[in-house]
Every structure is written in C-alpha cells, then in structure tokens.
C-alpha cells in the first residue's frame, strides 16, 4: 500500500508534522493487552462496586432502578442499528429513522404535546435547551421553582454563564411551588418540576397561569413513568416539557448514557434543538423517513443554529421506544400505579419509625418522598449500606437530616419492610 501511495515508509506519511512537534517517545501508557486481560481488568474494577443488584435500591433523585424488559436490548442491540451513524443517507438508515419517528410519536402521546425531537443528552441539558428555546423570543429572565432538582439548576447556571442569564429561584413553602408572581415582560419562561425534587405533586396549572398570561412560557420537567396516572404536561398548559428518559429502557449506568426528552407545542417547532425525523415519500411514492427542519441545526445554520448539539442519544431513544411499546397504555398505567402504591406503603412504614418524620406532612407524592431523620442522613444511609440497602439520597442542600427515598415497581413489600426494620435498628443503635 505504501507503494501505491508513493512513500517509502509510514514515517513519511507524518512528515508534515514539524520536527519539534513530533512525539519522539512512546506514549506513557501500558502496551496493548489481550482481550482476556482487558476483560479481566474491567471485571475486577466492576467487582469493586456495589451495584443495584446487590444493594436494594431506594435511591432516585433523577435516576431510577426501574425494570428493563429483556426484549429492549435484544432489539436496541441489533448491530445494524447499534453501529450506524447519524442517518445522513436516509436510504441506508430507514431502520433508525422510523424508530425515531415512533419515539417522537410516543413521547407526544405521553406528554399530550405536538412535537418531540429525537433525543438530547439527558434531562438536565434538555432543560437548558428548553430555556434556550424560550429565550430565543428575545425575553431574557428565567424563573425557576425551588422544587426543581438542584442538579438541573446547577446545569442551568453553568450554561447561563454563556448565554447570559442567571436562573432566578422561586420560594417553595412546604416543598411546593407557589404561583409565579410579578412576571415582567422580560421573563422568558417559568420552570417547574412535577412531580418535584421532593417527590411532591405540584399544581402546574396554577403555577404557570400568571406567567402564560404575561406571555412567558411554561416549562415543565416531568417523569415519564408518572404519565400513566398523572395528567400530562400538555393538559397542564406546558409550552415545553422535558424529562430524563432513563427509566425507559436504560440501566442506571452510574449516570449515563441516558436520554433527554423534549416535547413542545407545534408553534415552537422551528426553535427546537437537535434532530427531528419527519415522514415523507420517495420518488416512487413509498413512505419513508428523513431528518427534517435541518435548517435549525448547526451543520447548516452554524452560529445561528438553535443548538450546538450534533451527536445525541439515539441508541437510548431506540431502547426507550421499545420499552414504551412494551408497556403500551396498560403497562404504563400499571407502572405508575405500582410505583405510587409502593411509595406510599414505604412512606407509611418509614414514617412509622420513631423519630422519622415526613418532611412535608400531608403533601401528595408520586414515587418519591422526603424524610427528616433524627440522625444525619448520610450516616443513616451509610449504616444501611452495610445492611444491604441503598436507602435513598441525602439532601444536604436542605439540611443534614433530609433523605429523599424513591420506590419503583421493582421493590417488593418484603424489601420495603426489611428496609424499615433495618432503618429502625440503625436509628436506635
């Protein structure tokens, strides 16, 4: 091959690299190893972790231990999908394109909104994109409910530095948002999470009403697993709804890869970030799918693009597509029903322990709730790990004593009772 290229040696192929810039030594890394060794190395590392398979998982706060049916990865793992790239040649990519069209369709069915894109990085960055959409109209301020996950708010704050806004936090007396008041004409959007970071159900409509009256957008962060039983964002008046899609088809994976969902009213479609698949026909009139409205995107519009996103989370969206279809309407309702029922059972069991209190007594919640413990939450959490439970996620940003507990359909009554028992011991010890 060198001959065909017309150079005597490989080194000549790198001759453009100026002398001084050549790395004259091998990289300071171990030399290559065999497949057997690299697998052993990673398996050994993985064994140093205690995963949701051996710790009974009551941790949530944005990532949940839901059941992923076996069929999901049997299909999302099909290598023609798995090893393909962004479908720039639609004739060779109908599989991915149609699946994404189905993803968009199901996300819209879930949210009762008109249009969805083909995925974003995760829930937090999806919120950033939603805020950018809202600010594209020229208004600047972003008001955020105190019930929004602080990690989402931090992410907003980070990107706000570049885009020129600082998220303004609203009070949440009793853990829930009061209607956003004093909306001036510079408010681009108000943001609420429902169910919120404490697990509580919010009055989204009331919260959004004044803002929408003042021409600002209502952005809702939602939980896709709740939409079998809870009214969808579209019905609550949301202009844009975003979510962490992880619970559909994706294992916990220490935080990623997950997928951001973003759906909106049709009038915002041209402000939407990322890829959108549309149905059309080919020259013979056959139905087919293409990436559409690409004039929004960076590869066409460059600095004028609605977003800089290129690579997204398509594979996770495929997994979510299969999972949503596996659930169907009946399964989604049952999923919500079970999460809610098991969460309220756990709530009863844990608040029954002496010294353990509900952080927000009487406030309705979905699959997550917040406790105030008689000891430091981290201490209790750590003690319970030795007993085989990941009891929840402490919320130091509230106070030392606060623990947020999530209960998915995977948890059994036995596991919940056992957690309560163990926590009881830990608290008296």
């Amino acid at each position: 091959m060198l001959a065909a290229v017309g150079v005597p040696s490989i080194d000549d192929l790198f001759s453009q690299i100026p002398e001084g810039l050549r790395l004259e030594r091998p990289l300071d890394l171990p030399r290559g190893v065999s497949e057997q060794e690299i697998l052993a190395d990673l398996a050994a590392l993985a064994r140093h972790d205690r995963a949701a398979d051996d710790l009974v998982c009551f941790a949530g706060s944005g990532a949940y231990d839901h059941f992923v049916p076996s069929v999901v990865w049997a299909l999302a793992g099909r290598s023609e999908l798995y090893t393909s790239y962004t479908p720039y040649q639609p004739e060779l990519s109908q599989g991915v394109l149609q699946a994404l069209f189905e993803f968009q369709s199901m996300v819209c069915e879930l949210t009762a909104l008109d249009v969805s894109n083909a995925s974003l990085y995760d829930g937090a960055t999806a919120l950033v994109e939603a805020v950018n959409m809202a600010r594209a109209g020229g208004r600047s301020r972003i008001l955020v409910s105190g019930g929004v996950d602080p990690r989402y708010v931090e992410t907003l704050r980070t990107y706000g530095r570049g885009s020129g806004y600082v998220p303004e936090m609203l009070e949440t007396p009793g853990g829930r948002s009061a209607p956003a008041s004093e909306i001036d004409p510079d408010v681009a959007a108000v943001v609420i999470q429902h169910p919120n970071v404490f697990g509580l159900l919010e009055d989204v409509t009331a919260f959004g009403a004044p803002a929408r009256a003042a021409g600002a957008m209502l952005i809702q962060v939602f939980d896709p697993t709740s939409l079998g039983i809870l009214a969808p964002p579209g019905d609550l008046g949301a202009d844009i709804a975003v979510a962490e899609g992880q619970p559909f088809g994706n294992r916990l994976n220490y935080g990623g890869p997950y997928l951001g969902m973003l759906a909106a009213k049709i009038e915002h479609v041209r402000k939407m970030p990322g890829r959108i698949v549309g149905e059309t026909v080919d020259v013979d009139g056959r139905t087919g799918y293409v990436l559409t409205l690409q004039a929004r995107e960076q590869h066409i519009r460059r600095e004028k693009a609605t977003s800089n996103i290129c690579t997204n989370q398509t594979l996770m969206a495929l997994a979510a597509t299969v999972h949503m279809a596996w659930l169907g309407p009946g399964g989604l309702v049952e999923l919500g029903r079970q999460c809610a029922a098991k969460a309220s059972y756990a709530f009863q069991a844990l608040t029954g322990l002496t010294g353990v209190e509900a952080a927000f007594p009487g406030a309705p919640f979905f699959k997550e709730f917040t406790l105030r413990l008689p000891k430091a939450a981290t201490e209790v959490r750590d003690a319970l790990i030795d007993r085989g439970f990941l009891a929840g996620v402490p919320a130091p940003w509230v106070d030392e004593a606060t623990l947020i507990v999530a209960v998915t359909e995977r948890r059994t009554k036995e596991e919940i009772d056992a957690l309560a028992g163990a926590m009881g011991e830990v608290l008296v010890s």
């Binding site: 290229v5 972790d49 937090a124 935080g255 149905e279």
Partner: protein, 498 residues
C-alpha cells in the same frame, strides 16, 4: 462485489409503524401482582385517558424492530467512510465489559465507597487521555463533542472573566465543523471566521491581522477539517497566546496523530476528544458519545464538578469542592457507559496499539485517495492528507451534470456507504472520505472501484446516477415535502394527503 451486507429492498413495503401492529387488548408488559394497598391519585392530578401507546405483543416488537434493523446499514455491515465521523469497527469486547453489573447497575448518587471500581476506571481513563493529548487534567463529563466544545468555551470565558474581561470573539477557520460556531455562540462569543490559504491551511498572516485584545481564543482541529496538518501550528498558537487568547483543540481528528504528536505540545490549552470517533465507541445511530475535555495546568481550576480525585490512601472520590469551577455540564457524571468502552479500547490497544491505529488510519486514507484521485481530485492537492481527505466532484458536475450526492447515491447501489458530501462547506461538490484504520485493503479497493465505476457511469449514463439508489428499501426521499408538510408524529396527517 460488496464485502459487507448491503441494505436491500425487502419486497413488500412493510408493515408501517409499530402502532399499525397494535390490536386492542394485546400486550407485551407484565408486572408482579401489586403486593401492597393501591394508593389514590388525587382527583385533580389524574390523567383522564391513558396515553395512545401501541398495544402489541413482545413477538410483534421483536419482528418489527428486527425488520427495521435489516433496513439499516452499520459498521458491522460494511465500510462507513464518513469524513470527520471516524466510523471505526467497534470491538465486541467493549460491549461485554460495559455490561458488567458493577457498572450497568450502579446508581450515580451512590456513596463513593460503593463505587470505587467505577471511580478508579474514570481516574485511569482521565490519566490516559491527558497523556495522549498532553494536557494536565480532564473532565469526562461532557456527553459529546459539541458539549465538550461548549465546556471548553465556558472554561475560556471563566478564565478571561477572572482576568477582568470575558472578551467578545472566538476565531474559527471557515472550514470548521458547524458545532464550533454554534458552541461559540452558546459560550457567549461571536465567531469570527479565519480564512484558509489556497493550500487549505490557516492563513497565518490574516490570522495575525485578526487577533486583538477582544479575541478570547481560537478553535482549531489539527489535522484540520480538510484532513491536512497545520504545519504552522506553533506560530498559530503563539500568535493567539501573544494577545492573551487561548487555543482550543477540537479533537475530532485526534485519531490521526496518536503517539505521533500531542495537542499540548503544539500549544493548545483546551482539548476535547470524541470517544465515539477516536476510541471506537458505537455511535448507535447518532449517539451516545462522550466528549472529555482536557486542559493545561492553569485552567484546571475551571473544570466542571464533580471531579474524580484520588486520596493519599488510594481511595477515590467525586469531589464537588472547586470554587472556581464552571459548574456541572451534565445531570450526573456524563456518559459513563460510553467511557467504559473508551477505557476498553484505549487499554486494549495500549501505547503501541494506539500509535498503530493512527498510522493505519493515515495509510488507509492516503491509499484510498490515490485510488480515486483520477476521477475525484483532492480539493487541496498541494498537501498530503492525513487520516481523511476532501476530494471534489466539481469536474463531474461541470462535465456531466452529476453532483457529489448523485455519486454517493450510486455508490449505495453498488453496496457501500458513501463518504460525507458537501462538507466542508468551503469546498464545492466536496466528498470527504475517512476510511479509518479498521478497513481492509480489499474493502478499500472495493469502495474505490465503486467510486470509479460511478464516475465512469456519470459520463456514459448520467441518469443511472440521478436515479440512484434503486436497490434500497426506499429510494430518494422528498425532503422538501417533509419540511413543507410536517409529519413529525403518527398523529399528524400524512404528507401524502395534499
């Protein structure tokens, strides 16, 4: 003869969407009997009617998506020479590694002591990436390259802001990838194009004229988007540094120089890496990826939180404490599962293997370029391309009215995935080809033969190319109609009905 498995029409037009398979009462789901009391959802919060998800059996799902998969082309079915995208073969061992329960089942908010394996993996990978790029520390949090760019620009902004003035502009070569200017705007900067010379390299004199106290920095990829190595890179970075600017390295092309040269040694201050390009983590139809960002010592304080730190006793922790950090750029720790695959690739290949990867990538690109140069001349013939090259179909366009896209579609009928077309925008009828190191000589020969055949047919029988493809499940699709009559979900009425 194709060496892969070309995507072919499957006869009957197919069964429509998964919703068309639905039948009332059919279901794939199963859950255990609820073992506790059902709870009441407050009236006002209740959903009135169940969402319109499809009612299908598992069997329907399996056949539907298996069929769809067979209508798709992937690296596992053949060469995928998209310039700039580095579509490499993804070693299967990475999938096995990432599936370990200790990784896949780990909750992102578990206490560090229960995640020591994951943390150590991240720590080692960060170290390897710093060595490969010549940076001091890196964040693994950005979930893709574009995200890495924005992270880098926010670091740039934080740096300049601390010095009193964030500055206003970022210089970007006119040939740059679209994410560069897009990220620049989101970083709060105005993108100022840097013209290229006729040799396809940064015009250093013009650059010198463009820099000033308002310039926050320069974004560059080297080899650049034309596949050419910026020989004056040392001068370029110096010019920017002289006005206090920072130089950003878009790592999409890092796969050309591993073990041969390092961005850090060229004077770059910030580097992002596309693991899904350089380290062959599967693209999954457009994602996920990961876009780790490395920086020089002086910029370390600005890296996002949380960061993996190693305590003297050898234990690892996620540290939030970094007052000057730009903050978090992802809800959790980035695309961890992708990083496991990157780790597998990096340490499987090792120092020797990674260098070989770059050498083969460059050899393959040059071999392929020489095999089609007659019909598809290089856009910038004076410099030797590295891991990818930009050819042009401009002559075919003039002589036969056949465009780069027509050639691409014909190549599809011949059984291969075509190259990138119409990028970079600065080249007319651009065909940007990147075979990567993982293609065999036979495959390169097969692809080159298809390109040459297409060129010959363009002259003898141009309609063959205008009509192409004819073998695929669908033929050319009406994109204008797709944008005119939006049908973005199955609830919208069909574009057909107009």
């Amino acid at each position: 003869m194709s060496l892969g498995a070309p995507v072919r029409r499957q006869g009957p037009p197919g069964e429509g969407t998964v919703r068309d398979l639905a039948r009332p009462g059919r279901a794939a789901w199963s859950f255990p009997e609820l073992d506790v009391e059902p709870s009441e959802t407050p009236e006002k919060h209740r959903r009135r009617q169940a969402p319109g998800l499809p009612e299908v059996a598992e069997r329907d799902l399996v056949r539907h998506y298996t069929r769809l998969s067979q209508m798709n082309y992937g690296v596992d079915t053949g060469i995928y020479p998209l310039g700039s995208c580095s579509m490499k073969y993804n070693p299967k061992l990475a999938e096995v590694a990432a599936a370990a329960p200790g990784f896949a089942g780990l909750h992102p908010l578990q206490p560090d002591r229960t995640a020591q394996g994951a943390l150590e993996m991240l720590w080692r990978l960060e170290g390897a990436l710093c060595e490969i790029t010549g940076m001091a520390r890196a964040t693994l949090q950005p979930p893709a390259g574009a995200s890495g760019e924005l992270t880098g620009l926010l670091i740039m902004r934080a740096h300049h802001t601390e010095l009193g003035n964030p500055r206003a502009t970022v210089l970007i070569p006119d040939s740059a990838h679209g994410t560069n200017p897009a990220s620049t705007r989101l970083g709060g900067y105005r993108a100022v194009p840097v013209p290229s010379t006729s040799r396809g390299l940064v015009d250093v004199d013009k650059l010198a004229g463009l820099v000033n106290e308002d310039v926050a920095g320069l974004m560059l990829t080297n080899p650049n988007t034309l596949g050419l190595f910026e020989e004056d890179i040392a001068r370029i970075t110096a010019i920017v540094h002289d006005v206090g600017g920072l130089v950003y390295y878009d790592g999409a092309n890092l796969n050309a120089i591993m073990g041969r040269s390092r961005p850090g040694d060229m004077g770059f201050d910030i580097v992002h890496i596309n693991t899904h390009k350089t380290f062959a983590t599967p693209h999954g139809g457009g994602g996920p990826g990961a876009g780790p960002v490395g920086v020089v010592e002086a910029l370390v304080p600005y890296l996002p939180v949380p960061r993996v730190e190693r305590d003297p006793d050898g234990t690892f922790r996620m540290s939030e404490d970094a007052p000057r950090s730009i903050g978090r750029v992802h809800g959790f720790h980035g695309n961890f599962g992708v990083l496991v695959r990157a780790y597998a690739y990096v340490f499987f290949h090792g120092s020797d293997g990674l260098q070989e990867v770059s050498e083969l990538a460059v050899l393959n690109a040059n071999y392929l370029a020489s095999a089609i140069v007659e019909d598809f001349p290089l856009a910038y013939p004076d410099a030797r391309p590295m891991h990818e090259f930009v050819a042009t179909a401009a002559r075919l366009e003039r002589d036969a009215g056949v465009r780069a896209m027509d050639v691409a579609k014909r190549v599809i009928d011949l059984g291969y995935h075509p190259s990138t077309v119409y990028f970079p925008l600065v080249v007319e009828e651009a065909m940007m080809v990147e075979p990567t190191e993982t293609e065999s000589k036979e495959m390169l020969d097969g692809f080159a033969a298809a390109m040459r055949q297409a060129a010959a047919e363009a002259r003898s029988d141009p309609d063959l190319l205008h009509e192409a493809p004819v073998t695929t499940p669908v033929r050319r699709l009406d994109e204008a109609r797709a944008a005119r009559h939006l049908r973005l979900t199955w609830r919208d009425d069909r574009p057909g009905n107009d």
